[in-house]
C-alpha cells in the first residue's frame, strides 16, 4: 500500500527523529516528526477515501451498445466498447487509473477519449511513443487515468476479435493513488461479460462455368444427384460455345443477333457440401488469429456461406482427439448460423495436455495473476510461511513466488490447505494449475502454456487415423455425388498420407468430389519465390528452410492426392475458397473433368 516514495520519506524521518531526540536538536526532531505525522495524516485521508469511495464506485460496460452478460461477436469485425464509471457520492476522486482488462483474443484498434478532466493512458500494451507524440493522441484505449476529480467518466474504444471461440471480458483493474503518490491500492472490479466469437467469412461471387469444354455424359453406374432439378429458370443468354447442347440454342435470339446464342438455365439441383474440419492439437497452437484452425474456420465459413446462398445444403464433421461431432446438412440462414456456432464452439481450446513446470511458465502465471488478481498477490494477506529450506537465494525466491501463487490459486479455485501446500512442492500439479489458470484467463496455446513443437515429427499417424475415421463417417452418411471438403493440416503429417488414402479412395469410389484445403502455418504459400532467403540472417534462413521442406512435402502430397482426382489447395485464403466452389460446380454439373471456372471474386 505504501509506495517506495513514502518509504524513502519515512526512513529519514525516523532516523532524524531519533538523532534529534538523542542530541537534543529540536529543529531536526521537529522536522522529522512533522514528516512522520504528515505521512500518517496522508495515510488516514487515503484510507478514508478507499473506504468510502471504492464501494460506491459503479461500473458498467456496453459492447456494441449492449450491456448484457453475454452475446455474440464476429471475428475480425470492429467492436465498440464503452465503459462508464460513476460514484455513489457523485464525485470520483483523483488519482485513479482504470484499465479494462482485455484477453489475448482481443486486438485493440483505436480510441479517442480527450476530456478536459480525464487523461488517457497508453492502451496498446508495449507501444512505445516518442516524447514528441506522447501527449494524448497516441495514448488511447482501454486504459485511463483520472488526474482531476470528475462526477463520472465514460469512454469508448474499438477492438477486434482475433480468433473464433469465446471471449471473456473479466472486469476493470483500478489503481487508486493519493495526490502525492505516497500510497496506492489496486483492486479488481468484477464485470464479467462472456461472448461467443463467430468466425469470419468472405462473400464470394457465383463461380458459374463459362466454357463447357467436354460434353461427356457420366459413366455407367455413376448417378447424378438424387434430387432432380427443374432447370426451368433462365439465368442468362450467352454466346454459343462448341460443345453446348443444340437444344439450348436460343434460335430466335440467334436470328436477331446473327450469331448463335445459348440459353443458360439456373441449376436447381442442390449439391451437398460436407466440411471435415480438423481440430487436433497441431491446429490449435499459436496466437489467436494465427492458429491453423482460424484459417480453416475462415475457409469453411466462406464455403458454407457461398454454398448456402446458392441453395446447397452444408454439413460438417468436426474431429479432434476428443472424438467427432457431426452437424447435419442444413440450408438457409438457420443452417449457416448453426454451422458457424458449431465452428465457434469447436474453436474453444479444450483442456490442454499437461506440461512441465518451467521458469517461463512460472513468470507468466505470476504476471497474469498480478494483473488479474492484484488483491490476492498482496504480501500482507497472502503470507508465506517461514521455511528454512531452500537456502540458496535464487531457489528461495522461486519458493516464495510459488507459495504466493499457491495461495492465490487456493483462493481462486477454492482449494484446501493440503492441496495448497502440495502446489508448492509438486511441480506437475503446479504446472497443471498454472496452465489451467492461463487458459482460463484467455491465453492462447503458445509458449509457455504449451511447449513449442517441431513440425512433422509427431502424431502424424494418429491424426491420419482420426481424419480417416471422419472421412468414413461422412461417406457413410452421404448420398450420391457430394463434395467433401477436408480442412486439415496435412502438410504436418504428409509422410503418413498413405494411411489416409484408403478412406479417400473409398470416397472417390462413391463418386464424391473431394477437395483438400491445407492451411499454411506461415500464411505463405510454399512456392519458389519464398524458398530463397532475402537476407543472410538466421530468421530468414530458417524461414526459407521451412519453405523448402514444405514445398517438397506439398509436391509429394499433391502427387498422391491428384492421382486420386482430389483437388488440393495449400493455403487458407481466397484461392482455397475458389477451388472448393469450383469443385461444387463440377459436382453440380455432373461432369467428371474440370472446366475453367469464372474467377470468383472474394470479399471479406
Amino acid at each position: 500500500m505504501m509506495t517506495a516514495r513514502a518509504r524513502w520519506l519515512v526512513l529519514p524521518g525516523a532516523v532524524g527523529l531519533f538523532l534529534g531526540m538523542l542530541r537534543g536538536q529540536m529543529g531536526l526532531a521537529t522536522l522529522s516528526l512533522s514528516v512522520l505525522i504528515w505521512i500518517i495524516t496522508e495515510w488516514a485521508v487515503f484510507c478514508w477515501r478507499v473506504w468510502y469511495q471504492l464501494p460506491g464506485l459503479r461500473v458498467s460496460r456496453t459492447v456494441n451498445g449492449r450491456s448484457g452478460t453475454g452475446g455474440v461477436l464476429w471475428c475480425g469485425r470492429p467492436v465498440h466498447v464503452t465503459v462508464k464509471l460513476e460514484s455513489a457520492s457523485g464525485f470520483i476522486h483523483p488519482i485513479l487509473r482504470i484499465k479494462d482488462v482485455l484477453p489475448e483474443n482481443v486486438e485493440l484498434l483505436s480510441e479517442s477519449p480527450r476530456d478536459p478532466q480525464v487523461f488517457i493512458e497508453s492502451a496498446a500494451a508495449g507501444r512505445e511513443m516518442s516524447a514528441a507524440n506522447s501527449a494524448i493522441e497516441a495514448r488511447t484505449g482501454n486504459q485511463l487515468s483520472v488526474i482531476v476529480g470528475v462526477p463520472e467518466i465514460s469512454w469508448s474504444y474499438t477492438v477486434r476479435m482475433r480468433g473464433a471461440g469465446k471471449m471473456l471480458l473479466p472486469g476493470l483493474r483500478l489503481t487508486i493513488q493519493d495526490a502525492l503518490g505516497f500510497f496506492r491500492v489496486e483492486r479488481f472490479i468484477d464485470l464479467r461479460q462472456e461472448f461467443r466469437v463467430l468466425p469470419n467469412y468472405a462473400e464470394t461471387d457465383s463461380p458459374q462455368s463459362m466454357i463447357k469444354r467436354t460434353n461427356a455424359l457420366s459413366q455407367h453406374g455413376i448417378h447424378r444427384l438424387q434430387r432432380s432439378g427443374m432447370g426451368s429458370e433462365l439465368l442468362e443468354l450467352r454466346e454459343y460455345v462448341p460443345g453446348d447442347p443444340p437444344k439450348s440454342i436460343a434460335w430466335k435470339v440467334s436470328a436477331r443477333r446473327d450469331k448463335l446464342m445459348t440459353r443458360q438455365y439456373e441449376s436447381e439441383v442442390p449439391v451437398r457440401v460436407q466440411l471435415i474440419l480438423d481440430g487436433t492439437i497441431g491446429t490449435r497452437l499459436g496466437g489467436f488469429g494465427r492458429r491453423l484452425i482460424d484459417q480453416m474456420n475462415f475457409v469453411a465459413c466462406s464455403v458454407a456461406k457461398s454454398a448456402i446462398s446458392a441453395g446447397d445444403p452444408v454439413g460438417a464433421v468436426l474431429f479432434d482427439e476428443r472424438g467427432q461431432r457431426r452437424i447435419k446438412p442444413g440450408n438457409g440462414d438457420k443452417g449457416f448460423y448453426s454451422l458457424v456456432e458449431a465452428f465457434s464452439e469447436f474453436s474453444v481450446p479444450p483442456p490442454a495436455p499437461p506440461i512441465k513446470l518451467t521458469p517461463e511458465l512460472l513468470n507468466t502465471a505470476t504476471n497474469v495473476c498480478g494483473e488479474r488478481f492484484p488483491e490476492l498477490m498482496d504480501d500482507r494477506f497472502n503470507q508465506v510461511p517461514f521455511a528454512l529450506f531452500p537456502i540458496s537465494p535464487w531457489k528461495r525466491r522461486i519458493h516464495h513466488v510459488r507459495s504466493m501463487l499457491a495461495g492465490a490459486f487456493a483462493e481462486i479455485f477454492a482449494l484446501g490447505p493440503a492441496t495448497q501446500v502440495r502446489l508448492i512442492y509438486d511441480d506437475a500439479m503446479m504446472g497443471l494449475y498454472m496452465q489451467h489458470f492461463l487458459v482460463l484467463t484467455g491465453m492462447s496455446w503458445m509458449e509457455p502454456v504449451i511447449p513449442p513443437r517441431e513440425r512433422g515429427f509427431h502424431d502424424g499417424m494418429a491424426r491420419m487415423e482420426l481424419l480417416s475415421d471422419a472421412v468414413r463417417t461422412t461417406v457413410a452418411h452421404a448420398r450420391d455425388n457430394e463434395v467433401l471438403v477436408i480442412l486439415s493440416d496435412l502438410l504436418d503429417c504428409a509422410p503418413a498420407i498413405s494411411h489416409l488414402l484408403p478412406a479417400l479412395r473409398m470416397a472417390r469410389g462413391r463418386h464424391h468430389r473431394v477437395a483438400v484445403v491445407c492451411p499454411s502455418p506461415t500464411f505463405v504459400r510454399p512456392g519458389p519465390a519464398n524458398t530463397t532467403p532475402r537476407r543472410d540472417d538466421v530468421a530468414d534462413l530458417l524461414f526459407a528452410a521451412e519453405q523448402i521442406r514444405n514445398r517438397e512435402l506439398k509436391q509429394r502430397m499433391n502427387r498422391e492426392l491428384r492421382r486420386l482426382g482430389i483437388a488440393v489447395s495449400m493455403s487458407g485464403e481466397s484461392n482455397a475458397i475458389r477451388m472448393v466452389m469450383a469443385e461444387t460446380e463440377l459436382a453440380r454439373s455432373g461432369r467428371t473433368a474440370g472446366s475453367s471456372v469464372r474467377a470468383a471474386g472474394v470479399r471479406t
Binding site: 516514495r5 520519506l9 514528516v35 505525522i37 473506504w51 479517442s112 501527449a135 509438486d426
Partner: protein, 278 residues
C-alpha cells in the same frame, strides 16, 4: 453535473485538456522553485560555507524536479541541521514556519513528479505539442458547441485542483503543529527539572512512559482496525487461510512431502504392473 462524454471529442477539448494539465504542471514547478528559494535563503545560515551549500541545494532542487523525489531534499536539510544545529531545549513554535516550508517543498515536488509520471510526458513535450497542434477553427459548429462547456469544465477542474492543494497544505500545517506540540510536552523540550518532578512522583514508570505507551497502543489498534476494514472479502479469506497455513505449515509440509515421495516410488511399479497385464 458535468457530463464527461467521449463521444463528442474535439480538438478544442484536447487543447483545454492539455492546457489544464500544463497549467498544473507549471504551477507546481513555480511553487517548487519559489519555496526552494525561501528554504534556501532561510537555511544554512549557521554554516561557514553557506553559499556553497545553497548552490548545492539549488542543484539538488533542480535534480529533484527533474528526476528524484523530495527525499533527497529532506535528507540534505536534515544533514545540515544535524551538523550545524546547536543543542537547545524548547523553541517550539519557532520551528513551525521552517518546517512548513520544507514540507511544502516536498509536497510540491511529489505532486509535480506524480503528475508527470501519470501523464507520462514532460512539461516541454506538452508545450511543444500544444504549440505545434493546430486548433480547430473557432467558427466550426463543433468548436462553438463544445468550447464553452469545456472551458467551464477546465476552469472548474483547475479550481478543484487548487482546492485539493489547499487541503493538502492544511494537512501539512496540522502535521507541523502536532509535531511541535508533541515535542513541547516531551522530555527534551519540557526540561530536565519537569521530567525529574514528574518521574519522581511515579514509582513504577518514568514520565511520560505510560502516557506515550497508551497513545502508541491506541494508535496501533486504530491503524490495525483501519487496515483490517479495508480488506476485501477475498483478502480476508486469504488472510485467514494463510494464518491457518502458517500455524500448521510444518505438519502439512511433512505430510505432503511424504505423500509425494510415496507417489514417485509407486509410479514405476504401476508401469510394470500395466505391462504385465497387457
Amino acid at each position: 453535473m458535468t457530463q464527461t462524454r467521449t463521444s463528442s471529442r474535439s480538438c478544442s477539448s484536447y487543447a483545454v485538456n492539455k492546457s489544464g494539465l500544463m497549467f498544473q504542471l507549471i504551477a507546481y514547478v513555480l511553487l517548487t522553485l519559489g519555496t526552494g528559494v525561501l528554504v534556501g535563503t532561510s537555511s544554512f545560515e549557521a554554516s561557514r560555507i553557506a553559499v556553497s551549500l545553497r548552490l548545492i541545494f539549488a542543484a539538488v532542487l533542480l535534480l529533484s524536479v527533474k528526476r528524484w523525489t523530495g527525499t533527497i531534499l529532506l535528507v540534505f536539510i536534515q544533514i545540515d541541521l544535524f551538523s550545524s544545529e546547536s543543542r537547545q531545549l524548547g523553541g517550539g513554535m519557532g520551528y513551525l514556519v521552517s518546517d512548513m516550508l520544507v514540507l511544502s517543498l516536498i509536497l510540491f515536488v511529489s505532486r509535480y513528479r506524480l503528475l508527470r509520471q501519470t501523464t507520462s510526458s514532460g512539461l516541454m513535450a506538452m508545450l511543444r505539442s500544444l504549440w505545434f497542434d493546430e486548433p480547430e477553427p473557432s467558427n466550426s459548429p463543433r468548436a462553438s458547441n463544445t468550447s464553452a462547456s469545456e472551458q467551464s469544465a477546465a476552469a472548474s477542474a483547475i479550481g478543484r485542483s487548487a482546492l485539493s492543494a489547499g487541503f493538502g497544505l492544511t494537512r501539512l500545517l496540522v502535521a507541523c503543529v502536532a509535531a511541535v506540540v508533541i515535542l513541547m510536552i516531551l522530555p527534551p523540550s519540557a526540561g530536565r527539572d519537569e521530567w525529574l518532578v514528574n518521574s519522581s512522583g511515579n514509582s513504577v514508570f518514568l514520565w511520560p512512559g505510560p502516557f506515550l505507551l497508551t497513545c502508541l497502543l491506541g494508535l496501533l489498534i486504530l491503524l490495525t482496525e483501519i487496515t483490517w476494514r479495508q480488506q476485501t472479502e477475498s483478502q480476508s479469506s486469504q488472510y485467514a487461510r494463510s494464518a491457518f497455513l502458517k500455524a500448521h505449515n510444518p505438519d502439512l509440509r511433512r505430510i505432503v512431502v511424504r505423500r509425494l515421495k510415496l507417489l514417485t516410488k509407486r509410479r514405476p511399479k504401476a508401469k510394470v504392473s500395466d505391462n504385465a497385464e497387457s
